[in-house]
Subunit: 195 residues, 2 copies
DNA sequence: AAAACAGGTTAACATAGGTTAATAAATAAA
DNA sequence: TTTATTTATTAACCTATGTTAACCTGTTTT
């Protein structure tokens, strides 16, 4: 029962979770470690797990026709990551998930996910709120992508996720923002010139 | 108990819903009609409802600093629309929702939403799957926004939502795609030249 | 019917960001 | 430490999309 999981749950549902519920839930998960650059999921596979990052960093991405990667989501310790399309639908994944650093993760498979949601109302509630929040955040991100230029998007990103800027390669942040690494480099240069 | 609601629910949960459950749920909703160009929600208000469109069309949008509108979501009959950020959090809306045609809607307020989810497991399940699907679709849309040019995004949009192309003003489709109306007009011209 | 308005098109020009390619800096491997 | 490999920077040039502004069509309003 890692403290980071408890605080993730309590922050999400905005109330305390009992030790008993947390223990019950933990029993459905198992812990594993992976090296840096390990693929937790590759396009075309079935995504059987959702991952909670206890230590390290990972990200999901899609590869376009040209072969370019586009980062979808970054996850440091205390965040969840998965390909929910594949996980929920049972269809082949269109995204990849790869570690950026050695990670220690908690893994929850589909069967246990269902069991946990059915047997622990707090956990059911937790996952519902988790995805509600994710949806709302994603909608906002898309709205910003469609309404602001790359410079503003980077400013907002750097302000919102200062730790990501430290630990995630710049070319991946660029792709997350929908621009090329050279452009982000240019933006950062102009930015430091201003200040 | 409108047939369009039943089929929306059954398509989403991929199974039949009993008349009894549907009736119970319907009792939590009420029906209203609004004129064309009516604001169902304005930025700064609290979003107290989620709307199911029975007839007509509506859309949500955000206004940027320059005063430009950016369409977030379109809803024709058989679709839901709301500002889930405001609805879930109880905070002030950052989006607007406006009708594009006269509409007949079913409205479900927050209190009844909670009651329906607690008392009708099928409905709880329905809303969970609805938002899961919405999240997955949104993630895909963002991935495409970041990886494809405007022409491809429009092609995909027109193929996926041919009825939207018919009924929704082109300048709103442009803003949904993250471009200016003039650019969409240019894209459509080149497109017809090709064929 | 005239006027006003909303939506769409076109064209000339401007610009943010992409492309290519070379180099440098940082990190990992030998 | 030396050599690879990965990541970041820079610059010259290119292109898709934005900007401005004029015009057109169809639809409300008066």
């Amino acid at each position: 029962m890692p403290a980071s999981l408890r605080s993730n749950i309590e922050r999400t549902i905005q109330q305390k979770i009992t030790d008993s519920d947390l223990e019950k839930f933990s029993a459905f998960t198992f812990e594993r470690t992976f090296d840096k650059k390990h693929h937790l999921l590759e396009e075309g596979q079935l995504c059987n797990y959702i991952y909670f990052i206890q230590e390290g960093a990972a990200y999901s991405y899609i590869v376009d026709q040209k072969g370019d990667k586009h980062a979808i989501q970054f996850s440091l310790e205390g965040y969840w990551i998965s390909d929910l399309f594949s996980f929920y639908s049972g269809k082949e994944a269109i995204y990849n998930i790869e570690t950026l650093e050695p990670v220690k993760v908690l893994m929850l498979n589909k069967e246990n996910f269902e069991k946990a949601c059915c047997s622990i109302p707090m956990i059911d509630r937790f996952f519902r709120i988790l995805i509600q929040n994710a949806y709302v955040a994603l909608q906002y991100r898309l709205a910003k992508t469609n309404s602001e230029d790359a410079e503003h998007r980077y400013e907002e990103f750097a302000k919102k996720y200062p730790d990501f800027v430290q630990r995630i390669p710049q070319y991946l942040i660029a792709s997350y923002l929908g621009i090329k690494p050279q452009s982000l480099s240019r933006i950062r240069k102009e930015r430091t010139n201003k200040k």
